[in-house]
């Protein structure tokens, strides 16, 4: 029942499995978003995710170059 405790491993696994079908950068960011959303309120998730977007986009840019 708790959001902080691993009460629903199979449900979370189901979500992760679905995300694995997307490109690595997207999957990485989406997984991070889910982890943060499990712990933080929405606005805090937005703020925390901005850094991850920057980092993953930079990595992708580096790979493209």
């Amino acid at each position: 029942m708790s959001k902080n405790e691993p009460d629903l491993p199979e449900l979370n696994a189901l979500i992760s499995e679905k995300l694995s079908a997307f490109p690595p950068g997207v999957m990485k960011l989406a997984t991070k978003a889910l982890q943060l959303s499990d712990q933080l309120p929405e606005q805090a998730v937005v703020e925390a995710l901005m850094g991850h977007v920057r980092e993953i986009a930079r990595q992708q840019g580096g790979r493209q170059r």
Binding site: N4, E5, L8, L14, K18, A30, A33, V45, G61
Partner: protein
């Protein structure tokens, strides 16, 4: 969550400190049991115990069943204790001991009350929580964190699924839009969908922010296209929201329609009379109109018809002249002036002398007496001819007036008959109740009209959404094209693109995941529903469907939506089946460690439904606390419960002095002796 004990002090009907322990051993059949029955007649405090649990866990003093009762009238502190302490504060508290995931909790909420000048003032003073871990270490949870700790164990938004008033549980299937959204949020939390939703929304915000930044650095063409796409997405959101509202309003309308139809069924015996009354009223209106027209026509004929008043006199005159005419007296064979000339000359036209005193003279004088003046004769003949003409008109007019009178008379007869018939129908229909039937008919027509409008609106919305989606795809393709043309590879664009792709990925996963979860819950609910239903219900009701907004629908054997037509008892059973399915899904097909706390759940249920619940619930929930009245928990139910070997605790709520209640623990084995026999049908 497993409940262990509840302690009440001066709370509601429970004066002083009283407590009860819950049966909390669900590990095996025949152990300590996991079913607690708290038995009491109406007014003894069953709901007081239910309220105490909700109050202790969530600090809520109101229950959904309190409806419009003002806060000031909802007194939690025991009245007798207040009476005995006038002018002095009385302390009341509820203490709940429970465990969750190998942690033991003691939660206590305290309030103080004082009676002053006949007015009771109550205020919450303290909430404390002790947490003991399996290691034996205990700590006091900071008051500011207590609500969060409780929320992680049992989400406030789904508490009604686990702690519920049996009479009201079926309302979960009738919740309005805002309530349904709240319930949906709670269910999503329970099924871990809310994290996914938060992630989606957060990623959407990030996408918008980054695209807005990127737009400022983009070419005017790309900036324009980006803005158009954002506007398109906003419109899609609005349309989807309205479409959802249409669906909910439609569900509500169909339920209302079914309710009205059920009520109209009560008036079935007079439905044909209502139809007859309508027909008679229509006939009466038509006859009144025809009578008025006939009167108008008769009035218009009054001038001519008035001549008929002298009809007999005219006939007499005509007949008199005509008789004289027939006899040849008018006109006479010899005119009067010629006779007078013969008498004066005393010589006939043939030369014969007409002497005084002779027989010839006498005959001629008599002839003269019978002969009228030529002018008079002429006038008489003219009159005779005229009267003959008038008489012909009189006949026509008389015939016309007679026909009008006959027609009017017939209309009046029909009017009288129709009025008599209507009066009879009205008498048969009766008064106020029957008036309700026609009001209901009107109401039904209005709902029907509204439903048709909603359906039409939904079709338009779906078409508009389809168009918006096509436009969206076109815009996205154009943006990509323009970006390639402009050779945009700056980091800001990459960030915006990454955020958008991630948001879209989360959207896709969310749609798939929630659909799958709804299917899982729906299938499980269908299974439980079939187990709980009685024989007849099992035949008619086949599938429970969890809609997109987590509202429920039930399909009949022909897969048609049937929720609007099921009984309150079946709704109650369906809600319980849904709760069971949610619990099972959330616990990943294990027994969910969550008590089902039910206040008077059997009131609307048939005996078969009750039997099924009693057999089913102890195996479904980790713990079942049943608050029951003497009419719903009888020897029959007790025997069944005992046969399942999970009934661990039995309490009776007894009336004590001053309108208070005392909690008495009884042996389960003694229950049969204390309960009523089932009603003999």
């Amino acid at each position: 969550m497993i409940l262990h004990s509840l302690k009440l002090c001066n709370f509601r009907q429970f004066k002083g400190e009283q407590q009860l322990a819950f049966a909390d051993d669900d590990r095996k059949v025949g152990g300590g049991g996991n079913v607690t029955v708290i038995f009491g007649e109406n007014g003894r405090g069953k709901t007081g115990i239910f309220r105490a649990v909700v109050f202790c866990l969530f600090g809520e003093r109101r229950l959904s069943q309190d409806g419009d009762v003002p806060d000031a009238e909802l007194q939690l502190v025991n009245t007798s204790a207040l009476d005995e302490n006038t002018g002095r504060p009385v302390k009341a508290y509820v203490e709940l001991q429970f465990s969750h995931k190998e942690k033991h909790y003691i939660l206590r909420r305290t309030l103080l009350a004082m009676d002053k000048n006949g007015i009771t003032h109550e205020e919450f003073t303290e909430v404390t929580m002790m947490e003991t871990r399996s290691t034996g270490n205990s700590l006091a949870v900071a008051p500011v964190d207590i609500d969060n700790v409780v929320a992680t164990i049992l989400d406030r938004r789904v508490k009604d699924y686990f702690l519920f008033d049996g009479e009201k549980i079926e309302r979960l299937t009738r919740a309005d839009i805002s309530q349904r959204r709240e319930i949906a949020k709670g269910i999503k939390n329970l099924l871990n969908v809310d994290a996914l939703e938060i992630a989606r929304r957060a990623m959407d915000k990030i996408t918008r922010t980054l695209e807005s930044d990127a737009r400022e650095q983009a070419s005017p063409e790309i900036a324009k296209l980006l803005k158009q796409r954002n506007d398109n997405e906003e419109m899609q959101r609005q349309k989807k929201e309205r479409l959802e509202e249409c669906g909910v309003e439609g569900d509500r309308g169909r339920s209302e329609l079914a309710r009205v139809d059920r009520e109209l069924e009560n008036f079935k015996d007079i439905r044909h009379l209502l139809q007859e009354r309508k027909t008679a009223e229509d006939s009466l209106a038509a006859l009144d109109k025809r009578a008025a027209e006939a009167l108008e026509q008769m009035k218009a004929y009054t001038g001519r018809a008035a001549a008929l008043l002298v009809g007999s006199a005219v006939s007499a005159v005509f007949e008199h002249i005509d008789a004289r005419h027939q006899k040849g007296e008018i006109p006479s064979e010899i005119r009067k002036d010629l006779i007078e000339k013969i008498l004066a000359k005393r010589e006939c036209i043939c030369g014969t002398a007409v002497c005084d005193g002779t027989k010839e003279q006498r005959c001629i004088r008599e002839w003269l007496a019978r002969t009228a003046d030529a002018g008079v004769e002429d006038a008489a003949l003219t009159l005779w001819r005229d009267l003959n003409g008038i008489r012909t008109h009189f006949d026509d007019d008389r015939m016309h007036v007679q026909n009008q009178l006959i027609a009017f008379g017939n209309i009046r007869n029909d009017l009288a008959n129709t009025r008599d018939r209507l009066s009879g129908i009205r008498k048969a229909i009766g008064t106020s109740d029957r008036q309700d039937a026609s009001e209901l008919d009107k109401h039904r027509a209005q709902i029907d009209e509204k439903l048709r409008k909603l359906e039409a609106e939904a079709i338009v919305l779906e078409d508009e959404l389809k168009q918006l989606l096509q436009d969206h795809a076109r815009l996205s393709a154009r943006i990509k094209e323009e970006e390639v043309k402009a050779n945009r590879h700056d980091e800001l664009s990459r960030r915006a693109l990454l955020a958008r792709d991630t948001r879209d990925a989360l959207d896709t996963v969310y749609a798939e995941f929630t659909r799958e979860i709804r299917d899982i819950v729906g299938k499980a609910a269908t299974g439980f529903f079939q187990e709980l239903l009685d024989q007849e219900g099992r035949v008619n009701l086949r599938t429970v469907v969890v809609n997109d907004n987590y509202s429920l629908q039930v399909l009949d054997r022909w897969d048609r939506p049937f929720l609007a037509n099921i009984s309150a008892g079946q709704r109650q059973v369906m809600s319980i089946a849904f709760i069971a399915a949610l619990a099972q899904t959330a616990a990943c097909n294990k027994t969910l460690e969550m008590p089902l706390f039910m206040d008077t759940p059997f009131g609307r249920l048939s005996t078969e439904h009750r039997k099924n619940l009693i057999r089913f619930i102890p195996g479904l929930a980790s713990q079942w606390v049943l608050l029951a009245t003497d009419t719903e928990f009888r020897k029959l139910e007790a025997r069944l419960l005992r046969s399942g070997k999970r009934w661990g605790k039995f309490y009776m709520l007894r009336a004590s002095e001053g309108g208070n209640t005392s909690i008495e623990e009884k042996n389960v084995s003694d229950a049969l002796a204390l309960l009523k026999e089932e009603d003999v049908p």
